[in-house]
C-alpha cells in the first residue's frame, strides 16, 4: 500500500523532472527518514524544480528563501514589529515557519545567515528575541547549492554539512530526457497541474513505518564495518561520525521501505551511501583531490559485506 503511494509520487515527479528517477527516489527517501536534503549542482539543472515538485506532491506548506549575500537571520526567522493597535511588539514569523523550506543557493549567503537556518534544522525550533518557538511538523529543509568553485560562494563548513542527511547531485539529463524536455510543455505549467498525492498525516505515518523496517545484526555489522573503515584508513581525513552512522541506518531503512521490503539489505546501504556519506568524507592529507563520491565508492569496494 505504502509502496504504491511512494511509487505514485515518484512517477508523478518524474514527469516533471525527466530522467532523474534515482535522484527523485533518493530525495523522497531522505524525507521519509526525516532528514534534510542538500542538492548540489550547477544552476539550471532542475534543483529548484525538484524541491517544488516534492513539496507539491507531499502536500506540504512550502516556503522558499532565496539566499543572497545580504540576507540577515531576521529575514529567515522573522522579526517583531511594534503594533500600534495593541501597543505591543508583535512577532511576524519569517519564512522558516513552514513545513517545507527551499533554501535556494544556500552557499551564497554569509555564514551568519546560514547558521540561522541550520540551527533551526537541527532543533526544529527557532529562538528569536528570547522566545523559543516550535517549528511546524513535519519540517524539511531542501537546500540547494552551487558547487563551491563558483564565484561568490561561502562553502558550508563540515559541521553544517553534517546536518544534511543526504547530498545529491542532479547532473545533466541524458540525451533522451533532454529531447523530451525540449519538446515538452513548460515545466511551470506542469508543476501547477500537479496534485498532492499525500495528506500531511499520511506522510507522518509513512515516516513512522519506514523506521520500522527490520535491521538485522548482520546489517548493523556491515554499517559498523563501513564506519570503522573510514576511521582507520589514511584515505580519509576523518572517519564518519556516530551521527553519520545513524544517518546511514535511517536512510537505508527508508530506502528499503520505499522499495517495499521489510528488512534492510546491504544493497540498500550501498544505494544510499554515496549520498549520505559523500559530503561527510574528506580525503586524507596524502590523497588530496579525491571527491567525496569517489571516496564513497572506494569505501564500498573496500569493505566486504559480512
Amino acid at each position: 500500500m505504502a509502496q504504491k503511494l511512494i511509487q505514485h509520487v515518484i512517477d508523478q515527479a518524474s514527469q516533471v523532472i525527466l530522467g532523474k528517477d534515482m535522484q527523485i527516489r533518493l530525495a523522497l527517501t531522505c524525507l521519509l527518514a526525516r532528514g534534510h536534503l542538500l542538492i548540489e549542482d550547477l544552476p539550471g539543472v532542475g534543483k529548484t524544480t525538484l524541491a517544488h515538485v516534492l513539496a507539491k506532491m507531499l502536500g506540504l506548506d512550502f516556503q522558499r528563501i532565496q539566499f543572497t549575500s545580504d540576507l540577515l537571520p531576521a529575514d529567515i526567522l522573522g522579526v517583531s514589529v511594534y503594533d500600534r493597535d495593541s501597543a505591543s511588539f508583535k512577532f511576524h514569523p519569517g519564512p522558516i515557519f513552514a513545513q517545507m523550506i527551499l533554501a535556494d543557493e544556500i552557499n551564497r549567503a554569509t555564514p551568519k545567515a546560514q547558521s540561522a537556518l541550520l540551527e533551526a534544522m537541527e532543533e526544529h525550533q527557532v529562538t528569536a528575541e528570547g522566545v523559543t518557538r516550535q517549528l511546524p511538523e513535519p519540517f524539511f529543509v531542501i537546500a540547494t547549492q552551487n558547487p563551491s568553485y563558483q564565484i561568490g560562494t561561502f562553502p558550508l563548513p563540515e559541521s553544517q554539512l553534517d546536518r544534511f542527511l543526504m547530498r545529491i547531485e542532479l547532473g545533466y539529463p541524458d540525451a533522451k530526457a533532454e529531447r523530451a524536455l525540449l519538446q515538452g510543455k513548460d515545466r511551470r505549467e506542469l508543476l501547477a497541474q500537479l496534485q498532492p498525492s499525500l495528506a500531511p498525516q499520511e506522510l507522518a505515518a509513512l515516516q513512522q513505518d519506514a523506521m520500522q523496517v527490520f535491521v538485522s545484526d548482520a546489517l548493523l555489522d556491515y554499517i559498523q564495518a563501513l564506519v570503522h573503515f573510514t576511521r582507520q584508513s589514511p584515505r580519509f581525513q576523518n572517519g564518519l561520525s556516530p551521527r553519520a552512522g545513524l544517518a546511514l541506518l535511517h536512510a537505508a531503512q527508508a530506502w528499503a521501505f520505499s522499495d517495499g521490503r521489510k528488512e534492510v539489505l546491504p544493497e540498500d546501504v550501498q544505494a544510499i551511501l554515496p549520498s549520505v556519506a559523500g559530503h561527510r568524507l574528506r580525503p586524507g592529507t596524502e590523497f588530496t583531490g579525491e571527491s567525496g563520491t569517489a571516496l564513497a565508492q572506494y569505501l564500498l569496494t573496500s569493505v566486504s559485506v559480512p
Binding site: 546489517l219 546491504p266 550501498q270 596524502e286
Partner: protein, 640 residues
Amino acid sequence: MTNLVWLLLSLALATAPHLGRLPLWVGPICLVMGLWRLGIMRSNGTLPRKWLLILIAFAAIAGIFAHYHTLLGRDAGVALLVVMIALKLMEMKTLRDTMVVIFLSYFLVITHFFYSQSIPTALYLLLVVLLTTATMIGYSYPQERFPSRPRLRLAGTMLLQAIPLMLVLFVFFPRVGPLWGLPKDAYSGTTGLSDSMSPGAISQLIRSDAVAFRVRFDDTPPDNSQRYWRGPVLWDYDGRTWSTQRKPPSGKAQFLPLGQSFSYTITLEPHNQRWLFALDLPAEFPPGSSASADFQILALRPLHQRIRYSLTSYPAYRLGDNLSDETWERALHLPDGNPRTMQLAAQWRTSLDSPRTIALQALKMFREEKFFYTLNPPLLGEQAVDDFLFGSRRGFCEHYASSFVFLMRAAGIPARVVTGYQGGDPNPMSDYMIVRQSDAHAWAEIWLDGEGWVRIDPTAAVSPSRIESGIASALPAAELPPALVQLDAEWLMRMRLSWDLFNNNWNQWVLGYDQERQKRFLSGFHHGLGSWQNMSIAMIGSITMLLSGIAIWMFWRTSRQGIDPVLAIYLRFCTKLASKGIVRAPGEGPVDFAVRASRFRPDLARQISLITRLYVSLRYGQRHSARLPRFRKAVQHFKT
C-alpha cells in the same frame, strides 16, 4: 611523483654503485635513456622505433665487447645487464614490460654482491629494494596515484613481513658450494701480500687499512714484539725483486717447539693467494693445507672466500738443524752486482770469527750509522743494495730485510726473506685482534750452525718501536698514510673499533655462514640435519609451517566471532559459483550478486534467485529459522 619517476629513481639507485666499475660511456647512455623516457611521458610522445632500438642495442653490445673482449663474466655481464635495462625503458609499453624492468632491477641489486658484501653495501641495497618495491606497489594501482609516504610504508611493511621467510631461507637453504663457477674476474681488486717483494711493494700495502685477518687467542696473546705472522718465504733475488721462483724446498721441516704455546683462531680475509698466515711458528697446520719445509702454509686453492682456522704456535722454537746441499746453495745464491756490499761482506768474513758476530755486526751498522726508517725512500739505482747501504740509507722494512739477507749471503751465511705481518691491534671491546694490511712486514732468517734458522729483524735495529708498538708509532707523523693516523679523539677510536667488532660479527655470522658452519649449526639441533637433502626438507617444511601458520591465524581471526551458520552456507554457495568463474566481489551485496550471476548463467537464474531470497530473509530479515533447512538443502542441491 609519478610511477615513472619512481621507477627511474629506483633504477638509478640500483645502477649507481656499478657506474664506477663500468665503461665510462655506460653511465651517460643510462642517463640519456632515462631522460628520453621521461621526456616522452611529459610530452605524451611516442616510443622510438624498433629499428633504432635494435641499432642502439647492437652498438652497446659491440661497445661492451670492445671493452672487455668478451660478453661473459662478471664485469661484462653486469655492463650488459645495465645497458639492456636502460634500453628496455624505451620499449616499456604495457604493465608487463614494466614488471620485467622492475624484476630486472631486483636482479641488478643482487649483482652488487659480486663486488662487495660489506654492511654498508647491504644497507644501501636494502634501501634500493625498498624503493623498488614501492615502485612496484605504485604500478599495481595503475588507475590512481599512490602518495609517497603510504607507498613507502606499505613497501616497508611488506619487507618486514618477508623477514621470517628470509630467516628460514638463510638458515636452511643448503650451502652446497657454488652451483656454478664464478667468473674468473670475480675476485680482482683485493689487496694483500704477493709472492714477490720489490722495493716499494710493502710500503704501498701499508697505506691500506683493510683488514688482513682477525685473530682470537684462547688465552693471553703474546707481546707485540713476538707477534710475527708468517707468510710467503722468499728465496730468490734477481738484483731487484725477491721471489720464490722455483718450488720452495720440500720435505718435512725439522721443527722442535720450545717453551710456551699459544692457541688461536684466525679469520682470514680473502686475498686471492694460497697463503695461510700463522704466528711464527705453528706446531700443526689447518686441515686442507700443506706446508713446505720453510713453513709456508698453503691452502689447496686460492682463497676467494673468508676462512677460519685454528692453530697452536710456539714463539720459541728450533727449526731446520740440517740443510740439504740444494737448500744450502739456494740460500747463498746471489746475482751479480752490488760490488761494495760484496766487498764489505768479504771484509767482515775475514775480520769476524763467526756467522753470529757477522749478523750482529750488520745489525750494529743499521743501528749505529745513519739509517732511517721511512715510508718514502728515494729511488734506488741499478745496484740497489749498494745504493741503499752506502747511499740513501733511507728505507722501509723491505729495504732492510732485503739488504740484510744480501749481506748475509755475501758473507756466506744462508739467509732468506720472510714476509708477513707483524703486530696487530687488540679490539678492547671484544677479545680479538685486528691485523691490517698496514701491519705488513718483511724480516730475515739466517741459518746458523747448531741453531737452525734464526729470525732476525733488521728493521728492529733501525726502528725498535716498529716492532714493539707497531707501525704507527715508528713513522714520523708527517709520513703516516691517512689509514694509519692515530685518532686523537677517544670516541672516534671507539667508534672505529665498534664498527670493526660489528663487521667481525657480520663476517662470522652472516657472510661466514658457509657449508661447514651451516652443517655445524644445524647438526646442533639434530644430527641428521647436516645433509643438504634434510636441510631442503627442513627448509620447505619450515616455510610450509610458517605460511600455514599465517593462514590459520588469519582464518581464526575471521572466524573468531563464530561464523553465522547461514553465512557459512551462503559462502558455500558462493564457492560453487566461484568455481565457475562467477566470483562475488567482497563489497558486493547478495542481491546484486544474484543479478550478476543470473546474467552469466541464465539457466541457473531460478535457483540463484531462490537461494538468495532464502539467504536474505534468513540473514537480514526477522529470523525465519524455519527456513534454514530449506536453505541448506537448496545450496546442497545447487549444481553449477
